[in-house]
Symmetry: C2
Subunit: 338 residues, 2 copies
């Protein structure tokens, strides 16, 4: 098959490699209809995470079930499905408690930006879209593999509640999906921290009521001013750097919550500050499967439109250009079509 592979820093290629095969009786193979590039793919792309040269890359895809293992019961060949990037049996103690990203049988999509992908625990993981989605829904369905549930997880983890005030730190695709989530969960005021006009516009379209362009102490002061000096009830930290976490904590009111979903890189949690302000910190890898049915309904009902985070669509063969566009912030999020 044709597959996106990584060979070194800023060295992405599309190559011919062997098709994935059923390895466990609980596996399925998916023929990819649409895939995309994740902000977290940029960490290895930029040389900030270790890689194995020649490995496939990409963990977000949707597609048609091509084959299933002998133990798969609930998923049929030919079904069009959403593939949560973290695969889970959805039956173990952790899954039953809503922590599907810590499933006892956890695995991940590893060749999402390719023609085919293997999925572990197919019965637990895959969610049918009941046929190929309408063309105008495809992009939004694709976001359900990771970015939309991750933004949702930030909002849930931060404790967004009806009538609350939320801030979203980070205007990448996850942050923008965080705006959608905060809105859906009933936040009355949604502040997005962004200095990019196009992203600000999209955030407003998704429900943001305020935009703060400043960063650092000035940005904190601007958020506090909007909240009459009180701070926000909930902060969605959607970047993963120490600066974004510091901002999230600084603008949260005493007793409020920070939900963090950016993979932490150099983040230090200031325990004395959290203690003094009684600020809760909660987050991590999104339990995608937990949120999938609810979010799929919202997408199919056209209640939310997270697919608008895609501002560039390329054929799979042009994966390397997709990475360049996201790395250079020319694109928010790139869809790849095999």
């Amino acid at each position: 098959m044709r597959a996106t592979t990584i060979h070194g820093t800023r060295d992405i290629r599309v190559e011919e490699i062997p098709d994935p095969t059923i390895e466990q009786p609980t596996d399925a193979i998916i023929r990819v209809t649409a895939a995309c590039i994740c902000g977290s793919d940029l960490w290895p792309y930029r040389g900030e995470n270790p890689i194995t040269p020649g490995n496939t890359i990409g963990h977000e895809c949707i597609g048609v079930v091509e084959a299933v293992g002998s133990a798969v019961r609930d998923v049929a060949v030919g079904e069009h499905v959403v593939v949560p990037f973290c695969h889970c049996d959805n039956t173990c103690a952790h899954c039953r408690a809503g922590a599907q990203s810590a499933c006892e049988n956890l695995s991940m999509t590893v060749s999402g930006q390719s023609e085919y992908a293997r999925v572990g625990q197919a019965d637990g993981s895959l969610v049918s879209t009941h046929g190929l989605p309408d063309d105008d829904l495809l992009a939004s369905v694709l976001t359900l593999t990771d970015v939309m549930p991750t933004g949702w997880h930030a909002a849930v983890s931060a404790g967004v509640a009806p009538g609350s005030t939320a801030v979203v730190v980070g205007d990448g695709a996850v942050g923008l999906c965080g705006v959608i989530a905060a809105k859906q969960l009933g936040a009355e005021r949604i502040i997005v921290m962004s200095r990019h006009a196009a992203r600000q516009d999209l955030a407003r379209a998704f429900g943001a009521t305020h935009v703060v362009e400043q960063r650092g102490a000035e940005g904190n002061a601007a958020v506090l001013e909007i909240t009459d000096g009180v701070g926000v009830d909930a902060a969605l930290e959607c970047v993963g750097t120490d600066q974004s976490m510091s901002t999230a904590i600084a603008v949260t009111r005493p007793g409020g919550g920070v939900g963090f979903v950016g993979v932490p890189h150099g983040v230090k949690l200031p325990v004395r500050q959290l203690f003094a302000k009684n600020i809760g910190v909660r987050g991590g890898i999104a339990p995608v499967r937990r949120y999938l049915p609810e979010l799929l309904d919202l997408v199919l009902e056209r209640a939310i439109d997270p697919g608008r985070v895609f501002d560039l669509e390329l054929p799979l063969e042009e994966s390397p250009e997709g990475y360049r566009a996201m790395d250079e912030r020319r694109a928010v999020k790139v869809m790849l079509r095999p």
Copy 2:
């Protein structure tokens, strides 16, 4: 008045000093009927927190209102009251959100182990006991100034829910009150980590279902074994050291919560571990006033009996011996009677 003062490491004295006076129109002066020594008083006693030699010490007391400032409306001279160690107006934005320990007009009891104490924001802070409590209730009422609400805050912050499994890390008075709180909030299994027979017995009397004597990796393994390898839903960290926090996090299930109320001394929060396990961390200085009415009702109805944490009662003049007894762990908690 006679007052407990601190002059240096392990140098506690009882001396004659001027009575406190009304300084703000919102102040009240309390004639102390009972006071006690807090685990956190041991930090300065042991030289681990800076002090000003000659200052009074002690932030837990109950007593009779002796005088009120001109702006005090709801508290009358002669009333017997509980004095939350952190004083709050109970009307500002933070108080209204349940974060009374971050009140915009926050102050603290500073001469609790004395004959008299000044209380700021008397209307917001003080809660009447409707007369002097019965003798057998006095100790439990006294715990409502700090230790019982702090244990309660650990349980609330950890997210203890009906049917859940909780672990309490720390068998001091706060940890023991945490057991009471976990029980009241509906935990089905309550594991206390303790190696002291008398404290284990009290924990069991308060509702602990399991005792783990081991520490470190062995202690973690023991808790995991009790929970069939899953981990606890909620961990109450009631010490404030890096070891106790590490234990709390290690034994919490993915998606679970750690509530921490021990003043952090050298605690480092392992952000990557929290992220990987989706463990929430929340806590801080207890918003005592928030919990006071509910907890006072429970005490007066004899539904809870936190006063049993006192295992030594001394006259105020013997404060220094009280500190020694707690420092040497000869006493869990010491009551002082002026």
